[in-house]
Subunit: 146 residues, 2 copies
């Protein structure tokens, strides 16, 4: 993929990722390390709880989203986030396949550092049924072409 | 720890976590799976790049923060996030030890579902030198005492 600089981006540009499948063991392995709660670790307890079945940690969905963004948005200096907002719309369950569509919302040149600027992006994470699972709004640091 | 319901929380309540240490191998292992970029994977390339050395993925810092919040904020129904804002203030580097201080910012009872409400929390993640690495603002779903 051609590497992109701030000069190459404009509002409305769209980047589509590939797919990332996750199963119950992936969900539990992430949760054991970072989010050890029943509804991410134990099918039986999860079935009786708030979500009526095992679900992925929202932070696991976020991390998978980052993986898919890194693979699909070819910024020359990499994906460097300053701030992000995350909204979890729907739990991700074992066997789902996620993909991410990233849209450039706004481009701003830095006032203090003329070699760079910010790309405001919206990344929607959907499952194999096109159901919206997560919306990530990011402010990324992006460099101008040298 | 005594489990807490919405009724037990009030603005200004503070929860302090334990510590979580991470090394270069932890940083690379997370990055290989979720954020495969040079500055998280390769010391030599990282040294020459934007961050002047290997740094943890911001999503790794966020996931560690969740682990520390799960361990330190004993909500009866668990830590269930609806939306969050994340701001990365300072990169986390190999050998650092992170801890999280969570403050209750606001409590709201749900209008549509009287058995629950929302706790707005601010979780600051600091390293062993008390330097601020990340600020996480969360809107958590919290149940009332049955």
């Amino acid at each position: 993929m051609e590497k992109l600089y701030l000069d190459d981006l404009k509002p409305g540009d769209v980047f589509e990722s590939g797919e990332y499948a996750l199963n119950a063991e992936d969900i539990k392995a992430f949760a054991r390390q970072f989010d050890p709660q029943d509804f991410h670790l134990d099918e039986v307890a999860a079935e009786a709880g708030f979500f009526h079945g095992l679900i992925a940690s929202g932070w696991h969905t976020a991390a998978i989203t980052m993986r898919l963004v890194v693979e699909s948005v070819p910024l020359a200096s990499g994906i460097i986030g300053a701030t992000v907002d995350l909204s979890w719309k729907r739990p991700v369950r074992p066997g789902e396949r996620l993909r991410v569509r990233t849209v450039i919302d706004e481009i701003r040149v830095s006032r203090s550092k003329p070699d760079r600027g910010f790309a405001h992006t919206i990344s929607e994470t959907r499952n194999q049924n096109n159901e919206l699972c997560q919306v990530l709004r990011s402010k990324l640091v992006v460099f101008k072409r040298p």
